[in-house]
C-alpha cells in the first residue's frame, strides 16, 4: 500500500458525500420501513400484487420481515455500522424491487393504455400511491447512493468506535 499518495482534501469531500448518502438512505429506510411495519396487512396485499411469490408462507414471510429488516438497515446506516455490507444488502433489495416495479408498471400500461409516466400505483414502498416515473427515478438515486457507499464506505460520525483503514493511513503518515 502506497501511503504517500493519501489526499486529505479529496478525502474530506468523499467523507462528506458518504455521510450525506448514509443519512439520506438510512432515514428513508427507517421511515419507509416503519410505515410498512405499522400496517403489515396492507404491505402483504401489495407484495401479492406483483405475482412473484404465490406460496402463502413466502408471501407472509416477506411481508412480516421486510419492513423491520428495512428499518434495521436504515438504523445501522445512520449509525455508520458495517456501511459497505449494508450498502450491498440495500442494493440486493433495491435492484430486484425496482425491476419488479418497472415490470408491474409495464403490465398496467398495456392493460390501461396510458402513457408510462401517467401510471400511478401503490408499489408497497411505504409512501402510498406514487407516479411510477418518479418512483423509478427515486429508486435509481437510492441505487446510486448505495453504490457510492459500497465503493467509498464511510467512517465519519459513526457510532461504533474503532480505526478504519483510512484512519490507520492517516496515523501512519503522521
Amino acid at each position: 500500500m502506497n501511503l504517500e499518495r493519501w489526499n486529505p482534501q479529496a478525502w474530506r469531500h468523499t467523507e462528506a458525500a458518504s455521510v450525506v448518502a448514509r443519512l439520506v438512505l438510512g432515514s428513508l429506510f427507517v421511515v419507509m420501513g416503519l410505515n410498512k411495519a405499522l400496517d403489515p396487512v396492507a404491505f402483504l396485499k401489495l407484495v401479492r400484487q406483483y405475482h412473484v411469490i404465490e406460496a402463502p408462507l413466502g408471501l407472509t414471510l416477506i411481508a412480516a420481515t421486510l419492513p423491520w429488516f428495512e428499518g434495521f438497515c436504515g438504523l445501522i446506516l445512520l449509525a455508520g455500522i458495517a456501511v459497505r455490507g449494508t450498502a450491498l444488502v440495500s442494493l440486493a433489495m433495491l435492484v430486484p424491487f425496482t425491476a419488479l416495479i418497472w415490470r408491474h408498471a409495464v403490465g398496467l400500461q398495456s392493460a390501461e393504455m396510458l402513457p408510462f409516466c401517467a401510471i400511478r400505483f401503490d408499489c408497497g414502498c411505504g409512501a402510498g400511491e406514487v407516479a411510477v416515473c418518479f418512483k423509478l427515478l427515486e429508486n435509481g438515486i437510492l441505487i446510486l447512493l448505495s453504490l457510492w457507499l459500497l465503493i467509498a464506505g464511510s467512517a465519519k460520525w459513526r457510532l461504533m468506535p474503532g480505526a478504519s483503514r483510512r484512519q490507520k493511513f492517516s496515523n501512519a503518515s503522521v
Partner: protein, 248 residues
C-alpha cells in the same frame, strides 16, 4: 523525535501538500489495483459484513414481527385459494386492454360471480344489498351486514349496524361476529369495492368457521358503491348512532 503539537500539525500538512493529488483511488478507501490480495480481502470483508447484516436483520425482524400486536402469523394462509384468484385477475387485466371500462367492470363482475359460485357463495348487486338493508329482518338481526375492512376504514364509516370482521386478525373479531352470523338467515359481506377481495376472503373464513354457504352473500360493490348511491353511513364503532348520508 517528538515535536510540540503545533509543529507536528504544520509538518503533517506540508508533507501532505507535497504528496499532491496523484491518486484518487486511495481516497475512496480502496487498496491500489496492483494489490490483488487487498481487493480480495476488501471483497471478503464486505461480503462478510453483508451476510452478518442480513442474518442479524432477519432474526431481529422475525422477533419484531412476533412481538408486534399487528404482526402476521407466518403459518397462516391469508389468501385462501390464492392461485385461482390471482390467475383470474391477471387474465382479466391482460386480455382486455382496449375494452371500454364499463365492459371491463361487467366482465370482472361476472368473473367474480363465477368464482364465488365455484366456492358456493353468491354475489349480489347494489339493488339487492339495498333491499336487504331495508328488510325488517335486519332489525331482528336475521339479516346481518359484515364489514371486512380494517379498523381505520371501518371507523371512518360503515353500513349502519354492520359488524367488523377483518379476516387478517380473526381472533379479534370472531367471538362477536360468529354468534351473530350463526343466528342470522342472511349474512351480507362487503369490503371497499372495486378490486377489493377482502369480502371474498372474509366470507370464506366465515364458511370455514361453520356458517352455511347458502346464507352467505358477497356485496361486490362494497362501501364505494354504497356511498356513491347516497346511502347512510355509520361513523365510529357499531351502534355509535352517528349516522350520516342519505336515508335508507
Amino acid at each position: 523525535m517528538v515535536l510540540p503539537r503545533r509543529h507536528r500539525f504544520w509538518r503533517v500538512r506540508r508533507n501532505r501538500r507535497r504528496r499532491g493529488n496523484s491518486d484518487r483511488l486511495l481516497t475512496l478507501n480502496m487498496p491500489a489495483p496492483s494489490e490483488g490480495s487487498g481487493w480480495r480481502h476488501e471483497l471478503r470483508r464486505t461480503l462478510g459484513e453483508a451476510l452478518a447484516v442480513a442474518g442479524l436483520g432477519l432474526a431481529l425482524a422475525l422477533v419484531a414481527n412476533a412481538v408486534s400486536p399487528r404482526g402476521l402469523k407466518l403459518g397462516r394462509d391469508y389468501f385462501p385459494a390464492v392461485a385461482s384468484v390471482t390467475n383470474v385477475i391477471a387474465a382479466s387485466s391482460v386480455s382486455l386492454p382496449a375494452a371500454p371500462m364499463i365492459t371491463t367492470n361487467q366482465n370482472r363482475a361476472s368473473e367474480v360471480a363465477a368464482r364465488l359460485a365455484g366456492r358456493g357463495l353468491r354475489l349480489i348487486e347494489s339493488a339487492e344489498a339495498k333491499a336487504l338493508f331495508r328488510d325488517p329482518r335486519r332489525e331482528q338481526e336475521l339479516v346481518v351486514f359484515i364489514d371486512a375492512r380494517n379498523d381505520r376504514h371501518y371507523l371512518e364509516g360503515h353500513i349502519p349496524g354492520a359488524y367488523q370482521f377483518d379476516h387478517y386478525y380473526p381472533e379479534n373479531h370472531l367471538p362477536v361476529v360468529l354468534p351473530a352470523c350463526q343466528q342470522a338467515e342472511i349474512v351480507v359481506v362487503y369490503c371497499g369495492g372495486g378490486d377489493c377481495e377482502d369480502s371474498e376472503f372474509a366470507a370464506l373464513a366465515l364458511k370455514d368457521a361453520g356458517i352455511s354457504a347458502e346464507r352467505l352473500v358477497v356485496y361486490g360493490g362494497g362501501i364505494k358503491d354504497w356511498t356513491e348511491g347516497g346511502l347512510p353511513i355509520e361513523v365510529g364503532p357499531r351502534g355509535s348512532g352517528n349516522v350520516t348520508g342519505g336515508t335508507p
